[in-house]
Symmetry: C2
Subunit: 154 residues, 2 copies
C-alpha cells in the first residue's frame, strides 16, 4: 500500500501500521484545487496516493515561492498538523488530478494515547524529516552566502 | 534547574524529568574549545548551563557560516544525536567559558524503552523545534528570492 512508503510510518510494526490505516480516509483531488493555505489551522495530514501536489510559501503580495513538487505515492504533507500550534507552514495545491489519503490528527492522537510507542516512532520520523529539510535549506543559503563572500572580497 | 527550561523537556511530568536528570553529566568548557564538528558521529546532546556556544556550518575550505549563538541557560544543541544516522549537522564551539550538561543518547534511549511516552514528548518537541528553524531558514531564502525577483523584473 502507498501508505506504507510514507516516511512517517517507517519502523512501525505491522500491527501499528494497521492501527494507522484503520483511521485513514481517501478522497480525490482535481488539478488546480487548493488543499490548504499557509497560516490555516492544521488538523489533518495528507499522503499522496495518485497525482501531484505542489507546496509553496507566500513571498510578498500574491507571489509564491515553490518549495516542493510531490509526485511519488507515499509523499506526505501537512505534517504541522501533528505539532502545536497546529498551523500550516506552507500552501498545498494539486497540479495533477489524483487521490489523497487523509489522516486526522485527533484520530492519530487517540491511537498514540493508547500506545505511546507508536507516537514515539512517528515523531522521531517527523523530526528526522524536518532535520533533512533544514539541512537542504541551509545548503541553499550557503550558495547565497558564498556569492556574498566573493562580492565582499573582490 | 537550567535543564528544565530546555525545549526538549517541555510538557514532561516531574517524574519524567527526574528520569532524564538522573542520567545527565556536567562538565566545564573553555573559550575556543570545539565541542563537536559537522560530520562527527553524534552520540550526546548538550544543554548550556553557563557560558556561550556558537554553532556554524562549513561553507567552503575552512570558511564557516554562523548559524546560532547560544547563551541562554537551557539552550540545547547536538540534537541529531537523537536521530538516525546520528551525525552532527553543525559544528559547536565554546565562545565564552562555562559549563554544559551532557546527555548520552544511549542513556536516554534506555529510559524511553522503559517509558515510550517520554520519547513521544521529547521527539514531538524536537520536531517542533526543527520546524521552527526550517521556517526561519525559508524566511531567509525568501529575502534572496525577492532580490532575484526584483532583478529579473527590472
Amino acid at each position: 500500500m502507498e501508505l506504507c512508503s510514507c516516511y512517517l510510518f517507517k519502523d512501525l510494526t505491522e500491527d501499528q501500521k494497521s492501527k494507522v490505516v484503520s483511521v485513514i480516509k481517501e478522497f480525490s483531488i482535481d488539478s488546480g484545487q487548493r488543499i490548504f493555505t499557509e497560516g490555516d489551522e492544521a488538523l489533518t495530514i495528507y499522503i499522496l496516493k495518485e497525482g501531484a501536489v505542489e507546496l509553496m510559501t507566500v513571498v510578498e503580495n500574491d507571489f509564491e515561492m515553490p518549495i516542493a513538487l510531490l509526485r511519488n505515492p507515499g509523499d506526505c504533507f501537512g505534517t504541522p498538523a501533528l505539532l502545536k500550534p497546529h498551523v500550516h507552514s506552507l500552501t498545498a495545491r494539486c497540479v495533477e488530478k489524483g487521490c489523497l489519503f487523509a489522516l486526522k490528527q485527533s484520530d492519530l492522537q487517540e491511537q498514540i494515547t493508547k500506545e505511546p510507542a507508536l507516537g514515539y516512532i512517528i515523531m522521531a520520523n517527523l523530526a528526522g524529516h524536518f532535520l533533512k529539510r533544514l539541512k537542504e535549506s541551509r545548503q541553499e543559503l550557503k550558495v547565497h552566502f558564498k556569492t556574498l563572500l566573493r562580492y565582499t572580497r573582490s
